[in-house]
Symmetry: C2
Subunit: 407 residues, 2 copies
């Protein structure tokens, strides 16, 4: 008996989250014997609660399908909405009434660990009311911090963006190589340093910039930092240092929190600066060298300028695989990536109980961080490099990438 | 009679300044009947004064020549050094003694208006001592603010970077389109708004983001700004605004200067924030909406990620043309771009007395800025678009762009 499917996106965007959307939709369109209508939640489960649902088979969406595949951000829009812990909360009854009204048989949610919490709760409630709706989570996050999977869609392209950008910044830093200078690059990652670690790919040779790399997985000592920077300047006059936004000291106080004493602006707001800005001032104060800090902006999560072909294809395949798993009757599962080998790179797709993923975070293993916490070990390169490979030619108009968008 | 040539780079880097270096060197290598040795000044005229000169015909440089063409930054290194106004200053005698010692017949300097000042002074001194050395300036700057030329090498690629990045940022801003938000993007350009103006290319349709664009060519009113933002939010809930770093009020006070009252950080340093940060706080204070500011980092001047084929080729041709002009006996000149037409785009190369260029700045004409100073007129698009066209395939290794560098 035919049923309808619905798909939503949740959490922060990535460069390839729409490729997963493309995968699950195109495969849904093919599955004519099981799937009738294809709905999209506008702004995730939160939007769905307000009945903002799109019929994806409408021409306005279908004619953009190919474009959606390489458009960064979230085509359906996103949300940060946590369902109540108490499954007797009326919101669940409301949601399932809406599911029935739309004759939903298959529910797909593309997101990170918070989004998997939504999949977990909905599948648990479904079991408690003997609903036959299948709930499948499709992973995405530039943070690469999901448990039970080798890596996450979105990480490879973000890592490639960071590596390329840091190499460009290092080139810029070398322009006045007759002066000593320090450039501190702050990279996204509050609790996991996967993205910051990828900056090691920017090194052109051993000892090249970024000479120092700090992750939130190690306690950060400002004194060790100043000493390391001073020592590194001797061999690298234009030093580039990469740090995660979430670096913290041994008391688990975020370094950026120390900037909150920085005073208020003319409106009386606290001037909140990042860890990079704090360390910039620290180095200037202590070493009296030219120093600047650069906070990589949202493009590290939303740029399609350095798409990894491997990442884009895996994201699409995750969507395709999710649809097959749902049709096979699986529910309460998240799609996982299992790496068979790194060289040559070989991947297979699987599923895992979503409860093993939601509300947990995967850190960078200590064996990939050097003893003193100021660098990444080369063995990490074998892990990350395959995920950043391959070029994707983007559709462009007048030289600027062409993006899909909801009219 | 054969002579030697020397080339240097000066001022801030661009994505294609090395393409001009590639052009003048490769053409010099071909001119075997007139040119013998090819020298490179390391860190411009300042480095030359300290005898940091490279023999470009050495294998370590020659084998990287093709790579140099697409490497951003300044392969020879740069400087910000102003020669004394007084031509009787002993530094000129010193310089020309060094020129003679190296048997220099041709001097090429790749840079902006400060660098053209160096070309001007050296050529004037040469005339005063009857030196036969020919001094030619090769323009470069992402600011596009040089007089007497339609545009400058480096601007097209920077404009393409800004347009693409702003479109990506706008896509990211739309992810939570159930909430109102303002994103302020601060773009380089202290006195001229050419680069900020190029953000108009990010618009996918009329009325699309960036809805508001502010250049330093117009006086900025914070009251008008708040009103414009509030009005624009009605039709564009996720508003993106682009501003030049150099926007100023009618008293010519830079908006960023108002942040200097922002207080001191924990080291007692003034917290200097940009105009974007100031306006972010202003909008939060006055309109109580979600607001963030993004300062585009140095990549807008050093990224090769959005190279314009037109820009790269024109930069190389400027180097080639410069060598021919020198061989023809021209001196004290800068290479100029003369646009014959925009559609189809057609360019010819010329020269101009460097004294008409140095220490002057070209602003965006008022007819390309809307009456209220909050937007760019569509006619500007016909000017800028041809400069951003064409794709350049970069040499890569393991998926990351390969850059040339001095060993």
């Amino acid at each position: 008996m035919k049923k309808n499917m619905i798909v939503g996106q949740s959490g922060g965007p990535t460069a390839v989250i729409n490729s997963s959307l493309y995968g699950v939709i195109t495969e849904g369109l093919k599955s004519t014997s099981h799937i009738d209508k294809i709905y999209g939640m506008i702004n995730g489960i939160e939007g769905f609660l307000h009945d903002t649902v799109a019929d994806i088979r409408k021409e306005e969406h279908l004619h953009q399908l190919d474009l959606i595949r390489t458009t960064p951000g979230a085509y359906l829009g996103s949300c940060r909405y946590k369902l109540p812990e108490d499954l007797t909360d009326p919101v669940y009854q409301t949601l399932f009434q809406k599911f029935s009204a739309l004759d939903i048989g298959y529910f797909f949610y593309i997101g990170g660990n918070d989004s998997m919490d939504t999949v977990s709760k909905l599948s648990k409630y479904a079991a408690s009311v003997n609903s036959t709706i299948r709930f499948i989570g499709i992973p995405k996050t530039i943070d690469n911090d999901l448990m039970e999977t080798d890596h996450t869609p979105g990480y490879g392209s973000a890592a490639k963006y960071v590596a390329t950008t840091v190499r460009e910044i290092a080139t810029d830093a070398n322009v006045y190589d007759n002066l000593k200078s320090v450039t501190i690059v702050e990279i996204m990652g509050r609790h996991a340093g996967w993205l910051t670690a990828s900056s090691i790919l920017a090194r052109k040779f051993k000892g090249d910039n970024p000479v120092l790399i700090y992750l939130p997985e190690s306690d950060f000592s400002t004194e060790d930092f100043v000493a390391k920077v001073e020592a590194s300047l001797a061999s690298t006059p234009n030093l580039v240092v990469c740090i995660s936004e979430g670096i913290h000291d041994k008391n688990k106080t975020f370094i950026c929190e120390y900037t909150q004493s920085a005073g208020v602006d003319s409106f009386g707001h606290k001037m909140l600066a990042g860890a990079g800005k704090y360390l910039e001032n620290l180095i200037r104060e202590r070493l009296h060298v030219k120093v600047r800090s650069i906070e990589l902006n949202v493009c590290q999560r939303c740029s399609c300028s350095h798409l990894s072909r491997v990442d884009l294809d895996e994201a699409e395949n995750a969507g395709i695989f999710a649809l097959h798993c749902a049709l096979q009757g699986q529910t309460g599962k998240m799609i996982t990536f299992c790496r068979n080998r790194s060289i040559p790179y070989e991947l297979s797709y699987g599923t895992v109980d979503v409860n093993l993923v939601c509300n947990r975070e995967k850190s960078v293993p200590s064996e990939w961080i050097t003893q003193d916490g100021s660098d990444i070990s080369d063995s990490f390169i074998d892990y990350v490099r395959p995920l950043t490979q391959g070029y994707v030619e983007l559709p462009t108009k007048n030289g600027i990438p062409l993006f899909a968008y909801r009219k």
